[in-house]
Symmetry: D2
Subunit: 338 residues, 4 copies
């Protein structure tokens, strides 16, 4: 932690900050420059982070030196974490593919999609039973009925299940049916929900919030990890910008960013990131090339009839063609699919 | 709803969309321009919104004509909603002031702040008992103990209580102690939590999400209103931009925007919006001038020792001076404080 | 300047950076923490800023301690700069009002607007003769003919003239007719243009770029100031965000921000910031309350017929009513209009 | 163009808009819905775009149906434009590589880089002689001396030259030495400069502005194209967001976006987009996978000593290794390098 004092800080100002820091059992190093005095603090940065040093009179700014997350950091855990979901792996060169409809709409369509995505090579079936919808008047999901349909369809074709939980009260229920419990972008900072899924022994897919930094995504992962659950898969799904021709702006540089700073795998959801099925294939290939550890894709047998997100869903035929391209490219990008 | 077809759309493309829309019992009006064909749809836009028309082959874009919220809209409810919290009013020319520490840290400091903010003219005491913190290692609040302290301090000085709820499981508990139940920015799209507080008979303070549009804020209010709770106070608390000298960018134009489109009151939280106590007074005055229906301010007896957000808390002395200035200005801005 | 080394930096890494810094004639102070080594650099930060210290092996990050602007900073010039344009003053409690059409469309309308805004109390007439338009097919302005019309209309009613220059080749021409030479948002980082107007003896109105930070705005002002022209008026005109119901997001916290860090006056352009005439009055009042040193407003006798920006122009009647309200409020906000 | 009237629009309101539109020689089609009246306008949208229809009383919003650019659109020119710069091609499957130092610092280093990038397979040498720097106190480039050095170095190794022009007065000078004239991000909406380079017969590299949408980038290209210069290469270089661990946020979805809407080639500058040399390789590969038509890369023999942008420059050794990887991948991504 580095404390920069305002121009013209008096000796008393300096002493005041020094005393405050020392009272916490930490050491300081004062450096008087020509225009500013700087105080370096040595010791546990965590303890300092709780103290509003920037609220002390005479302090201009406080600079953090260390990363605020621990268990999520690569310094804490040097090697890539590989999350294995019934044989489908994410991380460490493994590229897992999660595919399925935005929402579980009916048994028939879920089974149809499951069969097709399995045939094309997906390892995990996705589908929402609890749907976070902007409008209260939109379809909210089939709830437990949807979970049952999803589980049955996945089991029939030997797929894993990935589905979202939105409420702390539903964590146990969802975990009963899911192999990967998903935390949606809107809940990335729903800390109670994060803590709750941190108690599960199941992998958690944590989506980046709509305007979250990569650092904040890792801080949210920290909430899960500290509860003892170290099977966290991060997911880049686009962030909000002024660009209005895509639903969000996919930030693929989040991939090398996460890989540099964390051991956790990160996958990409190009469906939500772009909101446009005509961009999904291209961005899927780009994501793999950027080093992603997998993909999450919306696949619907008839996007025109989808109860949600039809515009961004690809058909099983397109999905199969994309998988074929990715299988061809994977060896050149040092990736093994599923 | 207006559907724009791609350049070169064939008669079959047009017919396909027309048939799809008509099958929903709606009427269409086809207009063939020189370069594009446009299909206007007449009838219940809500029904159409659920259909992924933009997923139909040949469709270039779909434009919504109506606002997606109803109960929150001024068209639905022409006059300003005035939320009355034990005599402190928000809306319709009434300017309510909520003040207090970021977090309830102890009985002593809470009582001290309550006394001071009451004396200066605040109507509601704020204070977090459940704190959403970016880091799991930060102080998370005193929980029910904090609620008790807050309630007692408020009662002692005749103040109302405003405090945050973060978990659906805690709604009943928090509502027992609070006069206004607060939904934080990070939970603006926690739809289950919104639905839950929509069942209360207590006023709800709904903060704008970190990157939410005003329209989305109103959609989230809609979740509460449709449950039957029409005592919703909106809160502008800054949005995320690239500007890094303030914590967020306070969007005061959200005030006329909400007033134009909705009957709900909107207050401003300049503490979180700027993250800097040296900007709080100025932005409070500006908020009142922009037509805000109230303020929410962080006041701490000793910001340098605050357990959270010290840098953005003002002292009771500054708060009193700000209240004095606002009381002087209020009549000129057609506002009545508390 | 503070240099933070990567975790596990060796003695050789540290020595390498120290040697590099010392070779520039600067002093260092090395501090070895538990997890990181930090190197404080004492001396001319400017010299260091040119050296890519962050490109040196073993360096994790480089933190700047000082502000990168000098002449624009309040440390350099403690008192408010007051820019006086033929009696209309900006800064130091003076609130200057610039009003007029977006573009000079004809002599008739320009004269009509000039008369009305003068009567209502404006000090400066605005109007574009050179128009930066997103589309090359849009009206580009009357060029010198427009300048002549503007000058004549202003002179007739005793107003000053504020008009934009977009090209280094036109600086002399524009300066011949203008009392304030305006640099538009799109040219905020057109450094050659800034340097050129820095050679004028006329005041310069510098608009904040569409996604510029306040610090960058001050850096651009620095380009003008260092050429010897210290009559710079800054202008907040909204920044780009994801919010789509206003043209831009007006950042009123830029006002206390500039006032804290710089001695230069800052005015607000609510017309471009909101893009909506129904928000202009409210945001004008809010800007004055936030401490702005003036306003720039688009006024058009018949917005429905305007050749550009009609949707954000207010009528002379609305302008007069706004001026009346501001005149009433000014003494309560410690402002003197014009 | 579609005009949506406000709720409760009277017959007179409707007639007023209809009359206004008809007076422009256009046809209308009025559609009265349950809640809104909509007026479709048939004819030249360009003529309408100039009229502030949204300023007419009773109008709620105006929706554009057509793209505002013409010559840049794929509708205007169906096949990919391939820009050939002395044999290095951009577009239509050709992947051109531009590499070199951020700034031309000296003859020696320029020659050294030129030799290395040529050997590794680059076709064009980049280097700034006129540098747009945020600070007026930073190195501003060697000006014409820099152009001479760059030209000589490029000629010696059979490379083309790409360099930036910042001032309309320098266009002729820069064009004398350059094979590609570059318009930097800060000048993307410097319309006079665009018009000026539109008169050249040389290819123009147009960088996306810091907060420009893809549509605006294409509008700026339109300024060049309409002057008769159709050799425009677009460049994605990251946009501004709240994410602060990279200099900008690289928007790779701009590539399929441009390819869908325009015939112009688009390349990627991962150096400026990320600001971090450790992310440059990964994002270069991802850009190629996203369909980019080329790359622009900062290569410096000794980034630690660079006079600008050292932190984002890669070494010649890294560049050679990246080129080798891209050469291996290109056939699998249907690209031919240079």
């Amino acid at each position: 932690m580095i404390i920069v004092l305002k121009a013209g800080a008096t000796d008393a100002d300096v002493q005041r900050v020094v005393d405050r820091v020392k009272s916490l059992g930490l050491e300081v190093m004062v450096s008087r420059g020509v225009q500013r005095t700087i105080i370096g603090v040595i010791g546990e940065e965590d303890r300092l982070r709780e103290i509003p040093l920037d609220a002390i009179a005479g302090v201009e700014q406080v600079m953090q030196v260390l990363k605020p997350y621990k268990r999520a950091s690569r310094e804490f855990h040097e090697n890539d974490t590989v999350v294995d979901v019934k044989g489908t792996k994410f991380g460490g060169g493994h590229f897992g593919v999660i595919a399925g409809p935005c929402a579980v709409e009916s048994e028939e369509m879920t089974v149809a999609v499951a069969e097709k995505v399995k045939a094309a090579g997906a390892g995990i079936l996705r589908g929402g039973a609890f749907k976070p919808r902007t409008s209260p008047y939109s379809f909210q999901g089939l709830k437990e009925e949807g979970l049952k349909i999803l589980r049955a369809a996945a089991d029939r074709f030997g797929l894993g299940v990935c589905t979202e939980v939105m409420d702390t009260r539903d964590v146990t229920l969802v975990a009963r049916y899911a192999d990967i419990v998903q935390i949606g972008a809107r809940n990335m900072q729903n800390y109670n929900l994060l803590s709750e899924v941190g108690l599960l022994e199941k992998p958690v897919l944590l989506k980046r919030g709509l305007s979250a930094t990569v650092k904040e995504l890792l801080m949210s992962a920290e909430y899960i990890l500290r509860q003892g659950n170290d099977k966290v898969i991060l997911c880049e799904r686009g962030v909000r910008t002024f660009e209005d021709s895509t639903r969000n702006t996919l930030d693929l540089s989040a991939i090398p960013n996460v890989h540099l700073n964390s051991h956790l795998p990160i996958i990409v959801d190009p469906s939500h990131a772009t909101g446009r099925r005509d961009f999904v294939e291209t961005m899927s290939i780009a994501a793999m090339a950027a080093g992603a550890d997998g993909l999450m894709l919306e696949v619907h047998p008839n996007p025109e009839m989808a109860l949600s997100d039809g515009a961004q869903s690809i058909t099983p035929v397109t999905f199969a063609s994309l998988m074929a391209r990715m299988n061809q490219l994977a060896p050149h990008l040092a990736k093994t699919i599923n």
